[in-house]
Symmetry: C2
Subunit: 389 residues, 2 copies
Amino acid sequence: MGYQAFTVQDAIERVRTLGLIGNEPVTAEEIGDGNLNLVFRIHAGDQHLILKQALPYAKVVGESWPLSLERAWIEQSALKEFAKVAIPFVPRVYHASKEEAFTVMEDLSHLTIVRAGLLAGEKYPLLAEHIGSYLARTLFYTSDFALGPVAKKQIARQYYNPDLCDITEKLIFTDPFYDAETNTIEAGLEAEVDRIWNDAELKREVAKLEALFITKGDALLHGDLHTGSIFASAEETKVIDPEFAFYGPFGFDVGQFIAHLFFAAYPDYDRLREERIKDIDTFWLTFASTFKALWEREAVEPFRSADGLVEDVLSTILQDALGFAGCELIRRTIGLAPVADLEQITDPTVRLERKRHALRLGTALIKRRTECKTFTDLRNFDVTEELSR
Amino acid sequence: MGYQAFTVQDAIERVRTLGLIGNEPVTAEEIGDGNLNLVFRIHAGDQHLILKQALPYAKVVGESWPLSLERAWIEQSALKEFAKVAIPFVPRVYHASKEEAFTVMEDLSHLTIVRAGLLAGEKYPLLAEHIGSYLARTLFYTSDFALGPVAKKQIARQYYNPDLCDITEKLIFTDPFYDAETNTIEAGLEAEVDRIWNDAELKREVAKLEALFITKGDALLHGDLHTGSIFASAEETKVIDPEFAFYGPFGFDVGQFIAHLFFAAYPDYDRLREERIKDIDTFWLTFASTFKALWEREAVEPFRSADGLVEDVLSTILQDALGFAGCELIRRTIGLAPVADLEQITDPTVRLERKRHALRLGTALIKRRTECKTFTDLRNFDVTEELSR
């Protein structure tokens, strides 16, 4: 059975053949955006399923890049790996086919995508805590500190994901920092962007973060942990789409999530700023305390007994995360993949002001990340002179 | 053809079948120490060959650990990779068999093993410069900075070497820092060793270096670059035995070589100290200037144009290298694989004093490595209060 992109009918037949639905009447539709994957929602009787199939290309602003189907297998493997250690936050997988690059999993339609939900005024009181716990568990348990180096190497080598890492490297660390074709710079933002392109210190620090991203294999990362990759309700949180999963630095997922919590404040900054900062606070506290507790209970030697090591690891994670958050803030403001949090601000003056804010906050986070010894240092970050300059 | 350990006769037949020697009279002998490999020297007419075959175990102080034959293939691949970028310093390979785990290469009998040569009073005026150039080239050209992340990942995944990495982790970063069976502590050294075992700060810093070793994939390392892995004469230098090769942190090979230059001073410290420090100086200057020159000419973007990045990378390499050098100094003094430089000192008082010195120097290098912003800071290291305490 070679690979072929499914029709709705193919998808239905596949789940029926797999015995996941019976012969009852079935409704099905393709609900993906068609950029990277086909996504079929299939309902039959009590069964509510999603069948996701990778496409052999990425469609981005009209252009089409070839993209390895391997990523479906990466996603399937990562979902299994994450389910082992963070099951409440991972969608249930019913079937995974490497050959045909598809996964059948539970339908999460009773939840909403967090970015859309927040924009619509939804509240997710447990989101920050849940993601803190999710990341502490996925990062710690897939690291050398939990697995020991031999078992970890065995797992890490399976997550060879050069295609998607390459996309991330280009879109996050490279293109936004020079006049690349992939950028979309709103009229009125040119001076601010010029400042970024001419900031040699900033560009050096970004290059350091990129080097960290491509050389440090701390743990199995989700790799694309923004608020569009999270389904939630007031009680539940599920992290989907780990097709960018690879062994990378601890701080990357942490930083991406922080960046998107910052973004979530922009639609109504004065009202939402404090709320989102509190979320970031809760997120980090949960992450750090859970990571530390897991370490103290389960880290392998000689790491567990090394006095003060976990504190040092956490402070490095924080600093790296702030740098990665800064890169994400910049690239989502002027790069290829804009966020609705900014784009849906209707007043052009306000929108420009918020975009300028995002760029300055990003710059400050990148350049001054090493000043943050503890998390409370971060609270001062968007009122610094950097922003008023 | 499955694997079988060769006899001398097998070795001769193999090189004859390969057409590397003809039907002329041949002399051959097994010259290895039999711990990890069989090494046959084969002379026939003008042809002088070495056939090296991996054994499926490591024999260490009587015990035998199973060891994957994969490492022969790792060594063959690394020799080829290093020859591409540093050909003057790599032995010529005539044939490599993955299945039978053997490599036929040029016989380097006209050179001496550097450790033995230095102990016998030989001079290697170009050694430090050659190894500086060798490491600058092998490390730079196998890194993301030269290859770009996609090509580098493709190469890096071939060097999955968990067995030998595990040995290094245990013997360098773990065992010497607690009362492990593998240690050999000379009578009279107990108090000094206790100090190490009770130094919480030291143990934390060693754990950080271990974490760096197992998570950072900067470049293809030799992995065991001590003076016993180098053949040299006054004019020539060849680095052999990269069976520990893997993608690891830039500073590791650099640090190991520095440690063994320190060791080389111990047989006659007052006379040799200045000479070896000068070697270390030359080594680092050559390494750093060559690495920088290669970077400026050939690094990929965005790294090449990132202002000040290469200086930052080099200063990190130096600090990490000093830490790794410190670990190597300690483990070779009390761990499983002692060095002749210390063991052959006949006067027990002097020998103990030098061992104590090595342990204190190692401790100082590990704990104070981040104080070394430039290399000149290092010159003060073995006269610090740390050593007189």
